[in-house]
């Protein structure tokens, strides 16, 4: 298990400095949070890590692998899974199919075997289906297995997206506002799942972007705060929310208004 390390990463869109150079570490076995007001550049950070955007500067390393120039599918194959701020499922595919496509990275059979449906390929499909059902069980979604994903409720669609990300068996899980629009009881349940992911077995590196302060402070081991593309604070959740700079970024100066 290795750590995802960002060094001096920055992003500029034309004349606009979206994210100023910053360093960040996303360690395995830990839940790392990234918070900040709207438009701070949080999602840009995820898009930089996952190869959606090209870096304007700096480097990204994952253990021994250099991901600075990697494209989206290479990042995924290196063991990074993400969810999207606005849910992006395959709406017509069933919930089961949505989870199974997440296992693409684990596919070992050759194209030829898949093309002619050789026993190895069929066995693999069966195994993926079984593993998908284990995930469905974990998220309490078994009875929706055959439903088109697009027909589910918002919260259930979020769950499908998370199951799909977990289906990759990733080393790093990047969650873009995982509990947005989900009530406190349900978020607490999801929080327990994230905690379990970080501590169980090899221990995943969980990285989450969130607006929900209570959720972040309860869950995250380490928190980064971004404001207008600048990293303004980092530390334990406790430290960060009491930091005057952070309070100012969120609530503004007392002299403002």
């Amino acid at each position: 298990m290795s750590t995802l390390t960002l060094k001096g990463v920055s992003k500029r869109f034309g004349g606009l400095q979206a994210v100023s150079p910053f360093d960040m570490e996303i360690a395995h076995g830990k839940i790392t949070g990234l918070i900040g007001p709207n438009g701070a550049g949080k999602t840009t950070v995820v898009n930089l890590i996952t190869g959606v955007y090209k870096l304007s500067g700096g480097s990204i390393r994952f253990g021994d692998i250099d991901l600075t120039e990697a494209s989206r599918h290479e990042v995924a194959r290196a063991g990074m899974a993400r969810t999207f701020q606005t849910i992006r499922l395959l709406p017509d595919a069933t919930v089961l199919a949505n989870v199974m496509i997440g296992m693409y990275r684990l596919q070992k059979t050759s194209l030829i075997a898949q093309m002619f449906g050789l026993p190895s390929s069929r066995a693999e499909t069966r195994r993926f289906r079984d593993e998908a059902y284990v995930l469905l069980e974990r998220f309490g979604m078994t009875r929706y297995a055959d439903y088109p994903a697009g027909t589910l409720s918002y919260g259930d669609q979020r769950r499908v997206e998370m199951m799909r990300a977990l289906a990759l068996q990733p080393d790093v899980l990047l969650l873009d506002e995982p509990v947005a629009g989900i009530n406190d009881v349900e978020s607490a349940k999801l929080g327990e799942i994230f905690r379990a992911l970080a501590t169980e077995g090899k221990g995943m590196a969980v990285f989450l972007i969130e607006h929900n302060m209570r959720f972040v402070t309860n869950l995250c081991d380490y928190v980064y705060v971004l404001d207008s593309g600048q990293l303004i604070a980092q530390g334990s959740a406790e430290q960060v929310i009491n930091d005057p700079v952070v309070i100012k970024a969120y609530l503004g100066d007392s002299d403002d208004a």
Binding site: R72, H73, L90, A93, Y104, R105, Q107, G117, R143, D146
Partner: protein, 292 residues
């Protein structure tokens, strides 16, 4: 059994070959690629098989194999530049490819007979052969669709960004879909050539492209049976409505508009979806099924 249908054999031929072309079109759609190059691949396969059989005296089976290979190769080559394009740009580029193939056939008179057509092709392909070619192609596509390739195609079609975020290399599957499309069209083009005595370039121009596209939209583009249903409707319709035969194009158009408006996924796919929804609704009525 075929004797019973003897007077209609040419219709069956049309259905089998048309389905082959439509499958070639459907496979690129399934992968989320908007190529309409199938008729270009078919033309290459057809002329390749005809020329090899007539001029080189090659055995028809070998000629068909070569025609299929040429289609596959053309698919691979065309995929390289087209994988960089998306949506309507891909459609226009592939349309240009079809026009280039047709133009080449017209210009290379020594080889292809040019505008006069290519004649004296032995008629060796029987309806049974076409039928088996269609069934085998469909079976292969069903098998392929159920495994990892089908999953990758489905993901790319519905959301390319999500597919990439899951590790699917889009270029690789674009190329694969083009190669499959080329091989299928090449195969049925070759078979088409060896059942018809003669070939002309117009046979593979814009009208067959539109016909193939209509069949896929009409029947359904996600299942393997959709293209068969679409082609069958398009072939049989003018026969059933003989008096309307001269308004064929208008009927095509009207039918397409109606299907797109009321059955947007095509006749066959829409039926399958409504059956599935009904089954799910019935399950939902039952008190908590086992496993839930």
């Amino acid at each position: 059994m075929m004797e019973l249908f003897a007077p209609h054999l040419p219709l069956l031929d049309l259905i089998f070959i048309g389905t082959g072309y439509a499958l070639s079109q459907a496979i690129v759609f399934r992968a989320g690629t908007f190529s309409v190059a199938s008729s270009g691949f078919a033309a290459l396969g057809a002329y390749c098989a005809a020329i090899l059989t007539v001029k080189q005296g090659l055995h028809p089976a070998a000629a068909v194999a070569m025609g299929t290979m040429l289609g596959l190769l053309a698919g691979l080559l065309l995929a390289m530049p087209l994988a960089r394009l998306r949506g309507v740009y891909q459609a226009i580029a592939s349309l240009a490819f079809v026009e280039v193939v047709v133009a080449l056939i017209l210009y290379l008179e020594n080889l292809t007979g040019g505008p006069l057509g290519f004649h004296n092709i032995p008629r060796v392909v029987t309806p049974w052969m076409l039928f088996f070619a269609m069934v085998i192609t469909m079976a292969l596509l069903i098998i392929l669709g159920r495994g990892g390739i089908g999953r990758a195609f489905d993901a790319m079609r519905q959301d390319p960004a999500v597919a990439a975020s899951l590790g699917v290399n889009p270029t690789r599957y674009h190329i694969l879909s083009f190669a499959l499309s080329g091989a299928i069209a090449g195969l049925f083009g070759s078979l088409d050539a060896l059942r018809n005595f003669s070939l002309t370039a117009e046979q593979f121009g814009f009208s067959i492209l539109i016909g193939t596209l209509s069949a896929v939209v009409l029947g359904g583009r996600r299942t393997v049976f959709g293209p068969l249903v679409g082609v069958t409707i398009l072939v049989l319709l003018p026969e059933i409505f003989r008096p309307l035969a001269q308004y064929r194009q208008a009927v095509y158009g009207l039918l397409l508009v109606l299907v797109m408006a009321f059955l947007p996924f095509g006749v066959f796919d829409s039926i399958m979806m409504s059956l599935r929804n009904r089954r799910l609704a019935r399950q939902g009525m039952l008190p908590q099924k086992a496993g839930s």
